[in-house]
């Protein structure tokens, strides 16, 4: 696993662009809170700037009292889970690890797997998401943030490349 880039700050969604095409898989590690006035919002990703209705997902989650599963298709972005927002317990951030497999392959639609969520000492959610981007293009850029586009200060995103070779320097 090799670090590629990190983005931090507040406000609108951030974008990793010109992603190196030399790795086998990608892993996006997300630490996120939203400034939206509600208790929680969706964290999401988009690939190659595509805001068309080309995303689908399944999820399995637990909210502290029950387990649930659902799915949706023809979405304009790919949710990766719920992040805490403005009225949630202060200083609590959501954590998400998004694995994006075979991102350079131009013969496959792209599939993701995300484990994440947040706990706010009496509320919160843990979830496992599978995501699909119906596009065979190699992924060269990734947008990520809260769907209200109001990431709180302290938010950070880190992108890593997963290689099948020994990492021994250039």
């Amino acid at each position: 696993m090799v670090w590629i880039a990190s983005l931090s700050g507040s406000g609108a969604v951030r974008t990793f662009s010109s992603i190196p095409q030399t790795f086998t898989h990608l892993q996006l590690r997300v630490f996120l809170r939203d400034t939206f006035s509600g208790a929680a919002t969706n964290a999401f990703v988009r690939f190659n700037g595509d805001a068309g209705s080309n995303y689908a997902y399944h999820y399995l989650n637990g909210n502290g009292s029950s387990a649930a599963s659902g799915a949706s298709l023809s979405q304009s972005y790919l949710p990766i889970g719920n992040d805490p927002a403005g009225t949630s317990t202060a200083n609590v951030y959501g954590s998400f690890i998004v694995d994006i497999l075979d991102y350079t392959n131009t013969n496959k639609n792209k599939t993701t797997r995300t484990l994440g969520g947040f706990d706010a000492n009496g509320s919160g959610i843990v979830s496992l998401y599978s995501g699909l981007w119906l596009n065979t293009a190699a992924i060269t850029s990734i947008q990520c943030g809260a769907d209200s586009l109001g990431d709180a200060p302290g938010t950070y995103l880190s992108l890593y490349g997963i290689t099948t070779s020994s990492v021994t320097g250039a």
Binding site: I4, R29, G62, V92, G94, S95, N121
Partner: protein, 200 residues
């Protein structure tokens, strides 16, 4: 393989900075082992102390079986020696027949999941991976995401969880044990990794 630093906007810098090595104490790559314990059958609680503050995230990987007299019990993790009631968790559990979700608040430690003990199927250990993002940040509470599993050939559980430590201090030590403080079966292991970012 070279590694290029990207600009703050995520695009490749003009005039790339090529890191010819990701060497971190003779370890290459972003996931670096910090410390490892292999248990011999005595001693249970283990503390990783003086944790290096140069990483972005931490990952704890545990493969353990408890000498507790029952069949299974919870792991517990505490940070910076804090045993006060400032921890909570939300968990999603599958036991082979149903999925359920539970929550605890104001607990005295993080409970990521269930591990096997003495009366469980012989030779079965529980595996756990716990990610602690932004562990050195001093303005946010600390959140873990975890997965813990053990299959006992007819029984067993798998847990996904998020855990909260309501403290903004940087994590500089981490203690792991079962909830009773029992010893670990010989062959149990606990390894702490740092996930590095070049800029940190």
């Amino acid at each position: 393989m070279g590694v290029y630093e990207l600009s703050g906007a995520g695009s490749v810098k003009t005039g790339r900075t090529l890191y010819t090595s990701m060497n971190a104490g003779n370890q290459f790559g972003a996931m670096v082992p910090i410390a490892n314990f292999t248990f011999t059958g005595t001693g249970g609680s283990v503390t990783f102390s003086n944790i290096d503050q140069s990483y972005q995230d931490l990952r704890l990987v545990v493969f353990v079986r408890s000498n507790f007299a029952g069949s299974q019990l919870n792991l517990i993790i505490r940070f910076n020696g804090d045993a006060s009631s400032v921890y909570s968790y939300t968990r999603l559990t599958g036991n082979g027949s149903a999925a359920s979700s539970t929550r605890e608040v104001n607990f005295t430690g993080v409970y990521p999941g269930i591990i096997p003990a003495s009366t469980s199927t012989a030779g079965v250990f529980g595996s756990a991976a716990i990610d602690i993002l932004n562990y050195k940040n001093t303005s946010t509470f600390k959140t873990c995401i975890s997965r813990v599993a053990s299959d006992l050939n007819g029984s067993g559980t798998t847990d996904l969880g998020v855990q909260l430590w309501r403290n903004t201090a940087a994590i500089n030590s981490l203690n792991i044990s079962d909830v009773n403080g029992d010893s670990w079966v010989a062959g149990s292991t606990a390894t702490l990794y740092g996930i590095r970012a070049v800029s940190s």
